[in-house]
Structure formats: structure tokens, C-alpha cells
Symmetry: C2
Amino acid sequence: MIRHLVLFKLNEGVSRDEARVQAGAKAFEELGGVIPELDFWQCGWNITERDIAYDFAIVSDVADGDALQRYIAHPDHQAAAAQWREFATWVIADLES
Amino acid sequence: MIRHLVLFKLNEGVSRDEARVQAGAKAFEELGGVIPELDFWQCGWNITERDIAYDFAIVSDVADGDALQRYIAHPDHQAAAAQWREFATWVIADLES
């Protein structure tokens, strides 16, 4: 099993309330039920005010490296990521679990 | 429940094999069994080569905001974080789950 972690930082001046940002969050929220490779899916907004805090995060599990690649290449993932690329950056870590 | 996520990036020129880095990883690995506020604890090295990949990550669950503060203030957490401050930076996200 691989745990795929993604932390998103909204670009300077972008707020969570913007329609495009809300739509992007919704797109990720729905991804869990759409992509078969996802054995676990959790995403949501950060709730802690700290200067090292990012804004949004995904915690997801896939079976292995091949499944991770299929998830990343999946059209619905690509579409959601394309939305977020307009207003955020992100970093990842993949843990063997 | 709050899911506390931390992604660590080793400083420029620091490698995972360094003794201080291995000791820091061990300190975090042991934290899960030491701090009572931790309802779930997972940590480990990133396994994916991507330019947006960080190096090490923690996934942990605590009951609520007070428990999160007690975890952060716990001497063993402070000691482990102090080790990592020597050779890495990190970002966090806290999700309500």
C-alpha cells in the first residue's frame, strides 16, 4: 500500500471563498468515489493558523506504484489538478504503509 | 478528530543517510508510542522521485485542538522537532476528520 499525501498552498491573494477555489475543492472531494485505484480518500481545508500551514490537503491510499501512476493519469484527477494549477501550488510525499 | 499532517524537506546538501537524519527519523518513529494524545501515528520516507516531492512525512490523529496543542508541546515532540530543525524545514495541514 502507498499513502499519497498532497499539501496545497493557495497562491498569494487567492481566498478559499472564491468560486473557482470552491469548485476545485468540490472536484477533489468527489474524486474519491470516481477513481477505482483509490482504496482510501480524504481531503479538506486546513483548520490551523500557523505560518508553516498549507491550505488544503489530500490523504489517499493506493495499492502500489502502478496504481499510483494510473490515479495520477486518470482524466478526472488531471481535470481537478488543472483547476488547482490556476490558483495554488502543492507538494507531495508518498509513504509505503 | 483532527488529522495532523507534516511534510519535511531536507535542507540543501543533507542526505537521508546521515547519522543525525537517521536519528531524527527514529525519534519520530518512536513518538507514536510515547505521546498519549496520539490516536494514530504514521511516519516515513517519501518513495517517489518528483520535483514536488518532500522527503519525510507524518500522518497523525488527535482528538481535538487541545490534544493537538498538548502533542505539540510534549517534551518528546519538542526534542524530535529540535533535531529536525537542524537539517530540514516542514509544512503542515490539520484536517477535521
